[in-house]
């Protein structure tokens, strides 16, 4: 009775990308590189993920003082070349198996959420590449992709404003509509109009997605400013038409982002 979560794909819109399906079928080992992150596969299962948009497991373990930064560095130096940093941390008694698994799964799914974002550009796979972390608790690739899709839906269900994910967090001047939780207050205390949700996540040693969830809830309560009005349903033509009708001056920042995004895909 294995505890690995196995299940057929749920719906077409959660569809596993064709490349990932093929890699799973051939039980591939290597790195799946995308615009916003990398998934590391071993025998077709996801063993690690990294994204510039998500704090790494080192941040999660060291930010709150669970692990000394020197302890982490020693593990990387000594066990990195053998690709066994995770095992080293456990065998040297610095973290327990359960802690490592919980922290690593949190970091893995956090990075995978960004790596598998639908806006990402080209996907490449480099065979044979292994991550120096080494296997901790491999996750079926289908489960990783299902989880990323579920997370996107969760954010949209809370408050539809994707710009909140990346914009500097601006506290609202009016009192929030609902009492804030201790975790939300910790997030809000670090909002200075400059830090982004990722900056705050790093400081708190929390997964980025967890901070995005708080950000959407805080925006829904009116505790932080939404960068602009909540986006309408993802009908881009209607949205563009409305923007064109509503704005007399061109949104230079938006146009720049659009241009950069277009150039990135060429």
């Amino acid at each position: 009775m294995s505890t690995a979560i196995q299940k057929p794909p749920r719906e077409a819109r959660h569809g596993v990308s064709p490349m990932l399906v093929r890699l799973v079928t051939e039980r591939a080992t290597g790195a799946l590189l995308r615009d916003r992150g990398t998934l590391y596969l071993c025998d077709g299962q996801v063993v690690h993920a990294e994204s510039p948009a998500a704090p790494g497991i080192d941040v999660l373990l060291t930010a709150a003082g669970r692990l000394r930064p020197e302890g982490w560095q020693e593990a990387v130096d000594r066990a990195g070349p053998r690709g066994r940093v995770g095992r080293f941390l456990v065998e040297s008694g610095q973290v327990g198996d359960g802690e490592l698994e919980m922290c690593h799964l949190a970091a893995l799914h956090d990075a995978a959420f960004f790596a598998l974002a639908p806006t990402s550009g080209p996907t490449r796979f480099r065979y044979g590449v292994a991550h120096w972390m080494g296997p901790v608790r491999p996750v079926p690739a289908e489960a990783v992709e299902r989880e990323a899709a579920r997370r996107r839906e969760l954010l949209e269900a809370i408050w539809r404003c994707p710009d909140l994910d990346t914009a500097p967090v601006v506290r609202s001047t009016r009192p929030p509509d609902a009492p804030l939780t201790p975790r939300q207050r910790a997030v809000l205390a670090l909002a200075d109009g400059v830090r982004t949700p990722l900056d705050i996540a790093r400081l708190l040693g929390r997964p980025a997605f967890h901070t995005l969830v708080d950000m959407r809830r805080l925006a829904a309560f009116g505790a932080v400013e939404s960068p602009r009005a909540p986006a309408p349903p993802p009908d881009t033509h209607a949205w563009a038409a409305r923007m064109a009708a509503e704005t007399t001056t061109p949104d230079v920042a938006l146009l720049r982002r659009l241009r950069d995004a277009l150039e990135a895909t060429l």
Partner: protein, 133 residues
């Protein structure tokens, strides 16, 4: 120092245990699961139960975090566990306290006829503590 799988296997040794899981109450992530799931789907169970766990963990009426616990080292909600009794079963949700920032809980689904709620609650608390040893 048991891992997630060892903890779940031990939870299943409890009399009347039908299924168990470890989930995250902020994201709804299923970190691990074993046995049956109430709706037949461990991932959906984790996501749905996470909502319930979050409501309890953050309910102001159940108390607040330790005073002055604004620092990132402060973990764990004021609630230790949550027990739901249905006509045929018990569900015990037990929060895991970690020395890093997290929002993890154990969920045990227990047959009401065969299960011993007091024993299950104590064993789950013990497992939650050993998970972070």
């Amino acid at each position: 120092m048991p891992g997630i799988d060892e903890c779940l296997l031990e939870a299943m040794l409890l009399p009347g245990a039908l299924g168990a899981g470890v989930a995250d109450w902020t994201s709804g992530l299923a970190l691990g699961a074993i046995g049956q799931a109430p709706g037949g789907d461990h991932e959906a169970t984790a996501a749905e139960t996470a909502e319930l766990a979050r409501t309890a963990a953050e309910h102001p009426g159940f108390g607040t975090h330790a005073e002055g616990a604004a620092g990132p080292a402060a973990t764990g909600p004021p609630v230790e566990d949550l027990i739901i009794t249905t006509r045929t079963a018990y569900h015990v949700l037990c929060f895991v306290e970690t020395a890093f920032d997290s929002s993890v809980f154990l969920h045990l689904w227990l047959d009401r006829e065969e299960g011993n709620l007091a024993l299950a609650r104590l064993r789950l608390r013990d497992l939650a503590e050993r998970l972070v040893l």
